[in-house]
């Protein structure tokens, strides 16, 4: 879990933040907070799927689930455990 959290947070910072002094926590709202726009979810989803060799169905990869690093980690864990 902790490992996923670190990797995913790092990816989100690298991929979405423009400004070095912006800060991001595990529970910062990503989509509702205007950090990740809904169009860019594609690349986040693609990243998770390749990195963890899972398949996230569209009805689970929703804007709500993708709204914080914590909830993304929950989703990823669920699908990794199912493998």
């Amino acid at each position: 879990m902790e490992e996923y959290r670190k990797v995913i947070l790092e990816y989100v910072i690298e991929e979405y933040l423009e400004d070095e002094d912006e800060e991001l926590e595990y529970d910062s709202p990503l989509i509702s907070g205007g950090i990740v726009d809904s169009f860019s979810m594609v690349s986040l989803k693609r990243f998770l799927e390749t990195k963890y060799k899972i398949n996230l169905p569209d009805d689970r990869a929703t804007e709500e689930t993708f709204d914080t690093v914590n909830s993304i980690v929950e989703l990823v864990t669920e699908f990794v455990n199912k493998k």
Partner: protein, 415 residues
């Protein structure tokens, strides 16, 4: 009728929420022609106030130009008031095709199709030729109308960091397997006033066999040596596959827009773009006015040159005074205040000084990026700009932000 009290309450609460958030928009009534000097009724019912307009898209000062007005009158007399039809039924006059040809020649493209507005052009174009097998990769700061257009298309969506070519290249690699790829950007970004690096983007698009889409609404008529747009500035005329632009800003300011570019894409729009097929044709009077605008600017760079001088004067004046600006070299000059309330207070104080410039904040611009967006016109004279500068400096002193950095301003006022 199902408009019960319950329904009304839902909406009233929503409106109240907008007011409470301090982002409720109120119109200001202008009782004069659009120009550098305008007379405004604001708040509603108050007596008219003469102010200098620093926030219109009237970049070339042609919105109330006598020759454009006369051409519109002539058009009204000879081609009538309305056509009462969409283009493809019985709404196409000779002058519609003439305008399309003029735009094609001016932008250096293969063909052009008119739309009721550039919003319509942007919402219609992607859906007209892209399918699920394709991908649209857009700059994260593109205009809202493009975002709507992207939403309406079934193609895969992705974005790249604003003007970040490395990030764009990684996205082109990520989506290399798609049938059609289109990279989407504004030419001049309307909120920031910077320009897309079209030379680098063209090179990347050639390397990865992607099309390039540019919305040049805030460029057509004045960016580039002869005002053709950002593709002229970056020396890539003929290499932009799709250009959309508006006649509602520099090019007369009335209304109308177009898609101009590869002839197959223009033809796909004629066959399939919904705002073209299902919304009325551009009014003959407006088409006649825009044709005159092209007469006025073809082979005559006086206006765009004056605009450039004005914009340089303004940018330097603000910068020397110690304001934080966004980098750029266009007539859009955002004065950064970062905090939404500060932007609103600043705008209100400017208005008291006779300067009309509006504050922008989230969700129109990203959080903690509130600003006053100023827009320069060839219709401004130096005395307008000097008066406006004085007012900006006075208010800047009042809030103690002159010479302060972004960090210092945020420390004082918050994000």
């Amino acid at each position: 009728m199902g408009y019960s009290d319950k329904v009304r309450n839902v909406l009233q609460n929503e409106l109240q929420g907008i007011e409470d958030a301090g982002i409720f928009k109120k119109e200001r009534f202008i009782h004069s022609l659009q120009a550098a000097d305008i007379e405004v009724e604001f708040p509603l019912g108050s007596s008219l106030k003469k102010v200098i307009n620093m926030c219109s898209n009237n970049y070339l000062g042609l919105s109330s130009h006598q020759e454009v007005i006369k051409a519109a009158h002539d058009g009204l007399n000879h081609r009538g008031y309305g056509m009462s039809s969409v283009r493809f039924i019985c709404g196409t006059q000779d002058i519609h095709r003439e305008l399309e040809n003029r735009v094609t020649e001016f932008l250096g493209t293969e063909d052009t199709i008119l739309f009721p507005s550039c919003m319509d052009a942007n919402t219609g174009v992607f859906e007209a030729f892209m399918t699920k097998e394709d991908v649209m990769i857009s700059d994260r700061l593109v205009h809202a109308s493009i975002i709507d257009g992207i939403r309406l298309s079934p193609a895969l969506r992705d974005t790249f960091k604003h003007s970040n070519m490395k990030h764009l290249e990684s996205k082109l690699q990520l989506h290399a397997d798609r049938r059609l790829k289109v990279v989407i950007t504004d030419g001049v970004f309307s909120m920031d006033g910077d320009t897309a690096k079209l030379d680098e983007m063209v090179a990347l698009c050639e390397k990865y066999d992607a099309m390039l889409f540019v919305d040049d609404s805030h460029s057509s008529g004045f960016i580039g040596k002869t005002g053709r747009g950002t593709h002229e500035k970056y020396n890539v005329i003929g290499k932009i596959d799709i250009i959309t632009t508006t006649f509602g800003k520099a090019l007369g300011g009335a209304s109308g827009g177009c898609v101009s570019g590869r002839k197959e894409i223009v033809e796909m729009c004629r066959q399939k773009a919904r705002p073209y097929l299902f919304s009325n044709t551009m009014a003959p009077v407006v088409v006649s006015g825009v044709l005159k605008v092209f007469d006025l600017i073809r082979g005559n760079t006086e206006r765009r040159d004056k605009l450039e001088e004005n914009a340089n004067f303004w940018r330097k004046g603000l910068s020397d005074a110690g304001f934080v600006l966004k980098d750029g070299d266009t007539p859009i000059v955002p004065v950064m205040l970062f905090n939404a309330k500060l932007a609103q207070d600043f705008s209100r104080d400017l208005y008291d000084e006779g300067i009309y410039a509006i504050g922008f904040f989230f969700p129109v611009v990203p959080k903690a990026q509130a600003r006053i967006r100023t827009q320069i016109s060839a219709g401004h004279e130096i005395h307008h700009l000097e008066k406006a500068l004085k007012a900006f400096i006075k208010i800047g002193k009042k809030y103690n932000i002159l010479g302060k950095t972004k960090k210092e301003i945020i420390a004082m006022y918050g994000r």
